[in-house]
């Protein structure tokens, strides 16, 4: 397959994005002006088409793995950093996802960001992000992975701080950067440790059964475990897992398309991608799988619980992202190829519906004049029909509504977790189910509050009406904005089913990335998974229950329940006895919910923020206390320090020699 032009020239995908970034940066403000989105759009679309073709090539190849050396970047003696790309099912699928979702979001942003200050800067940075992300997915050695890992972090920093005049945006950008640095520190250590042990950083050698893996195993089980934990540390930072998840909700300070692209669909999945890529390593490391599983579980549950009480529309979605990422890590924690495949499957479907949810929220924000409090909205479905229907598709997909894409991928994860042996995984499966119910509930709550009922706030209603009528803004839902929503909605509905039913799941496809031996293993597992009808049924029931509960709680003012209530009066009295239902809800759900949410917040503020501040505060404290008084400006004292230091060193040297 390597002679295929689409594989050989795969480097065009990042290259074109980089070109677009440069062009937009140079020509954007001066010449392109309102057309500044075009280079970025073209680059993303080109990338989507090219990577789709590459994906087809990969799918049809017998030997679906190819290393494409592009150029040699740096040579310092025998340190060789090559910009070499790896095309295999895993990277091809991720590449397609990034570029396809990216191009749709860019199209949406061209409408959404119009009339914003820094229009060209925005698209320049987005194009740079696309370059970094596509490179991150494609590169074939850990050093380059680290480089692009940092670069996507930088792009994220720049884009979160896009409205840099807002102090909270600036603070959020800084927080994201610093929290990610903590994770990246571990990641860098892990890479160093791999280099020290294996003497190489190339995927092909590190992941080779008879090379890197052998060396890592030979160095003792502790080394492999440490390496995997350190790598996972990087993933925890980048993919916003507990306890480093705190930056992601704050990152919503960025423009909404950025939230959709970077903080929901693509960049945050880099951690999942990385762990999936190194599954052969993780599978061998004792105990690491459990850590990943537990962290994933905790994250999924905590984030879902926190989302229940949020009133900020984008934050609900942000916590939902964290929660879904937790699902993915749950699957990765199983430590088998099947787990990794399930995680990647969820990454893929999640990209569609989460991007769509965010874009929908962007549309809502435009209509309401930037309002984010869900309690002040309501009844928007009659004003923004396209947004409403597409949002509904995405929300149902997220909730795991049967036969929609989220259903398939979530079910794949739950089934994998459930079938893996061990008490921890059983527990994780249970937590996953509860979280699924919570997910359905909170997304239903957001949906009903925003789109159903009547507007709760007069000012917002006026704003929306004005927005819909006023032709100066252009139509409320123009084609350039509608088209991406509809495409994504179709994706949200169909992708899962198409993959699961038409292609028999991703397992046979993705397993090609892991070589032949795991493939057989994985296929066997897949067969077992194929019969997990019970789990499918259970998760469908759970999702529907969650949605139903959300409807009961928040969907009331709509005519639907009223009509129902008239015809079924006795039922109405029981089911819609609002008073005690609310009371019960208050006691059973809301109170503990609030308590847990408060606990989460304390954890965020005290523990994690404290950790972040400690990185700078502890050295500063030490310097203020111990080092500062030494710099007292007195020449004899300086000389004393110099000479005493030297004399002590010389004496040490002398006695070291006498001793040995």
């Amino acid at each position: 397959m390597s002679d295929s032009i689409f594989v050989q020239y795969i480097w065009l995908v990042p290259a074109v994005s980089l070109l677009a970034a440069v062009i937009t940066a140079i020509a954007g403000n001066r010449w392109l002006k309102q057309q500044a989105w075009l280079p970025c759009m073209l680059a993303a679309a080109f990338g989507a088409v090219w990577s789709a073709l590459a994906l087809v090539v990969v799918a049809q190849a017998d030997e679906p793995v190819a290393f494409v050396p592009v150029l040699e970047w740096l040579t310092v003696s025998d340190l060789r950093v090559a910009y070499e790309l790896l095309v295999d099912p895993l990277s091809a699928l991720m590449l397609f996802m990034v570029t396809f979702v990216g191009s749709l979001i860019v199209a949406f942003a061209s409408w959404y960001m119009a009339h914003e200050e820094g229009y060209a800067r925005f698209f320049s940075e987005v194009a740079l992000f696309l370059f970094s992300m596509t490179s991150l997915v494609l590169v074939a050695n850990l050093l380059m992975l680290y480089v692009f890992w940092e670069l996507v972090g930088l792009c994220s920093y720049l884009l979160i701080g896009f409205y840099y005049t807002r102090p909270c945006a600036a603070a959020a950008a800084k927080k994201a950067f610093v929290v990610n640095r903590i994770g990246d520190f571990g990641f860098a250590l892990g890479i160093f440790l791999i280099w020290v042990t294996c003497g190489t950083l190339s995927y092909r050698q590190v992941l080779a059964v008879d090379q890197g893996l052998q060396q890592l195993t030979a160095a003792g089980p502790a080394v492999l475990t440490t390496v995997c934990l350190l790598l996972f540390c990087g993933a925890v930072g980048k993919s916003a897992q507990f306890p480093l998840h705190v930056w992601l909700p704050d990152a919503m300070e960025g423009p909404t398309p950025v939230s959709a692209l970077i903080h929901a669909a693509t960049m945050v999945t880099a951690g999942v991608y990385m762990v999936a890529r190194f599954t052969p390593l993780f599978a061998q490391a004792a105990g690491v799988g459990t850590v990943v599983l537990v962290i994933g579980c905790v994250t999924a549950f905590i984030a879902a619980f926190t989302a229940l009480t949020q009133t900020d529309f984008k934050r609900i979605l942000a916590y939902s992202t964290i929660s879904q990422l937790g699902y993915m890590f749950m699957a990765l924690g199983i430590g088998t190829v099947a787990g990794a495949v399930a995680a990647i499957f969820h990454v893929f479907t999640h990209a569609f519906f989460k991007a769509l949810l965010f874009l929908g929220s962007g549309s809502v924000m435009h209509a309401t004049g930037g309002e984010l409090n869900v309690w002040r909205m309501g009844g928007l479905r009659k004003y923004l029909p396209v947004t409403h229907w597409t949002f509904l598709c995405a929300a149902l997909a997220l909730a795991g509504f049967p036969l929609l894409s989220g259903f398939w991928s979530k079910d794949a994860i739950l089934a994998t977790v459930w079938q893996a042996s061990g008490a921890a995984t059983q527990l994780a499966g249970a937590v996953g189910l509860i979280t699924a119910a919570l997910t359905a509930f909170y997304i239903g709550r957001a949906y009903f509050l925003v789109f159903w009922g009547e507007p709760r706030d007069r000012a917002i209603e006026e704003q929306v009406e004005h927005y819909v009528r006023d032709e100066a803004h252009g139509p409320p839902e123009p084609l350039i904005m509608k088209a991406p929503l509809i495409v994504l909605a179709v994706g949200s509905v169909l992708v899962g089913a198409v993959i699961a039913l038409a292609f028999g799941g991703l397992v046979p496809f993705l397993a090609g990335a892991y070589g032949v031996e795991p493939l057989a293993h994985a296929t066997a597992e897949h067969d077992a998974h194929g019969h997990a009808w019970g789990m499918m049924l259970l998760s469908a029931v759970v999702a529907l229950a969650g949605l139903g509960l959300a409807y009961v709680f928040y969907g009331q003012p709509s005519p639907w329940p009223d009509r129902l209530a008239e015809q079924l009066a006795p039922l109405y009295r029981i089911s819609v006895n609002k008073f005690w239902l609310d009371e019960l809800g208050l006691i059973l759900v809301v109170r503990p919910m609030l308590a847990i949410a408060a606990a989460c917040r304390v954890l965020d503020n005290v523990l994690v923020d404290g950790l972040v501040h400690a990185v700078a505060a502890v050295p500063a404290w030490f310097a203020r206390l111990a080092l500062r008084p030494m710099h007292n400006g007195l020449v004899p004292f300086y000389a004393l320090a110099m000479l005493l230091g030297l004399a002590v060193i010389l004496t040490l040297v002398l006695f070291q020699i006498q001793g040995g």
């Binding site: 040579t75 080779a208 059964v209 710099h631």
Partner: protein, 537 residues
């Protein structure tokens, strides 16, 4: 002897013209001519260097060996670096012609370039010492001339006294090194120490003392703990131009001297060099970064940032020494050259930014980091360039600073010595702390609103320095191959007699068309290659 003078034409030319300037300046006083004179001097030196840089030593190897200078590409690289940085400093100091002592000022400034060039070329302890002094003594005079207030007097006095003390330490170390080997010529020292017939008990007793004292001497030049104390005070008390000069010329000279003496001239004492550098590097990085966290004065902050960078350089120095037995240690030197290039660009460039805003009397001058507030809006282009330089100082990818740090830490890990692996980890932690205070400046520039008028001359030489350094930092950061290969060549040259064949893969060849289809199942041969020397990253 003719070839010797010919080889040193650039430096001798500078010395000659500077001496002439000293004489003429007594009559001429302040004149617009002086900066131009400095420019012409450096240009002449550059021309001369271009002619002689390809020069080989004399045919007769015995005669070549005892020359006081070495004809290697390490020397040539650093002489170019000295000239380039000298040009940058002169450009920053372009508006000093109003000084009453302008002639002396510019003459002293160009002498720093000659001093660094001679340090780079020196192959003899005596010449090395004299060249180091050729950097120090003009620096004393310059520190005095730069500002005429009490703070500047104090800075000059502090630097003078402590520097003289450090010279004495270096000299005693040099004397002991001579006592151990019996020669002052580096090549001869190297050969003599390796001669098994001559192994004497003087090496274990005096050798470590020599190493310690020499490290103290160069440690002062590099501002390494505990010889760094002057840095904060002196930088604060002098001008931006002199702070830039101080943060570059002595530091580079100290490092180059350390490479020549500690790594090359005294084989067999690597153990001492390695563990002393380890201790000093840890202390230096940590103190530099933590103290910089507290600073508000921008020059003081940069002084401690320079201390931290000296720590990173010491990591490379220790790695360089550790990789002896001969033939293996060049990786450390390699990383040091790369680091020096990156350090020169980002430090001089950043001081140029600070200086840029001080050149117009009406505008706001940058003294404390508060003065950076709002520059992002008020002066977008300089602020963007400063951001590039700061990102490079942090060591983020796609700037030259990243490659500098990477190569140094790489060299530390390449020693396969557990202590140095730990040192690399400590270095990484320090880099993380360092990010805070550089980021703080970026944050001030973009996230705070400024006060007061900001003025800068876009047509000034200083601005050209800013643009060029930032552009090079970025371009070489994206495409570091030329500078990496330059560093590699230079490092290979330093090892002189032990020159190893340059590995095949560093040659330029087109790998673009070779597409491999190999999944993670290498053949036995490839496995052997992978486990062997030609590791691939």
């Amino acid at each position: 002897m003719v070839d010797l003078f010919l080889y040193l034409t650039p430096e001798l030319l500078i010395i000659l013209l500077a001496s002439a300037a000293y004489v003429v300046a007594a009559w001429l006083g302040p004149a617009r001519l002086w900066p131009w004179w400095a420019l012409v001097t450096l240009a002449c030196a550059a021309g001369a260097l271009a002619v002689v840089s390809g020069m080989e030593g004399p045919e007769d190897t015995a005669a070549a060996a005892v020359r006081a200078v070495s004809y290697d590409s390490f020397a040539v690289t650093l002489r170019w670096l000295a000239l380039a940085s000298g040009l940058a400093i002169v450009a920053m100091a372009w508006y000093r012609a109003e000084l009453a002592t302008a002639g002396e000022y510019y003459a002293s400034l160009v002498l720093l370039v000659a001093g660094l060039g001679l340090v780079a070329a020196a192959n003899d302890l005596v010449l090395l010492f004299a060249s180091l002094e050729l950097i120090s003594i003009p620096t004393y005079v310059l520190l005095y001339m730069e500002r005429r207030d009490l703070e500047a007097r104090e800075a000059a006095a502090k630097y003078f006294y402590l520097s003289v003390l450090a010279s004495a330490l270096f000299l005693f170390g040099a004397a002991l090194a001579y006592g151990v080997t019996g020669s002052t010529n580096f090549r001869a020292m190297h050969e003599l120490l390796l001669d098994p017939d001559r192994l004497s008990t003087s090496v274990p007793s005096l050798g470590p003392m020599a190493i310690g004292l020499l490290l103290a001497g160069v440690g002062f030049k590099m501002a390494a703990v505990p010889f760094h104390f002057y840095a904060g005070d002196v930088y604060q008390g002098t001008s931006n131009v002199m702070a830039a000069a101080l943060s570059w010329f002595p530091k580079a000279a100290g490092l180059v001297a350390a490479v020549r003496v500690l790594v090359f001239a005294l084989p067999g004492l690597e153990r001492e060099v390695a563990w002393l550098s380890w201790v000093i590097a840890v202390a230096t990085m940590t103190l530099g970064n933590t103290m910089a966290l507290l600073q508000t004065n921008v020059r003081r902050l940069m002084a401690f940032s320079g201390v931290a960078h000296a720590g990173y350089m010491l990591v490379g120095l220790g790695a360089a020494s550790l990789q002896a037995p001969p033939g293996a240690w060049f990786r450390g030197v390699d990383s040091l050259v790369l680091y020096l290039v990156s350090y020169a660009l980002m430090t001089i460039g950043f001081f140029a930014v600070v200086e840029l805003f001080g050149q117009n009397p009406g505008g706001r001058r940058i003294e404390s980091i508060d003065d950076f507030a709002g520059l992002g809006q008020q002066a977008p282009l300089p602020a963007a360039l400063a951001t590039v330089l700061l990102i490079s100082l942090i060591g983020l990818p796609f700037t030259l600073g990243f490659w500098g740090k990477l190569s140094v830490f790489y060299a530390a890990i390449a020693t396969r010595d557990a202590r140095y692996v730990v040192l690399a980890v400590i270095g990484l932690l320090n880099a993380a702390i360092g990010a805070f205070y550089y980021l703080r400046i970026i944050a001030y520039m973009y996230l705070r609103s400024g006060y007061g008028r900001v003025e800068y001359r876009a047509a000034s030489p200083t601005f050209a320095v800013v643009v060029i350094t930032a552009a090079l930092t970025l371009l070489l950061g994206i495409w570091p191959r030329p500078v990496a290969q330059l560093a590699y060549r230079s490092a290979t040259a330093v090892q002189g007699a032990f020159a190893r064949q340059i590995p095949e893969h560093t040659r330029r060849h087109d790998v673009r068309r070779q597409v491999s289809t190999r999944p993670f199942r290498p053949t036995a041969v490839q496995a052997a290659v992978g486990a062997g020397h030609a590791a691939e990253y």
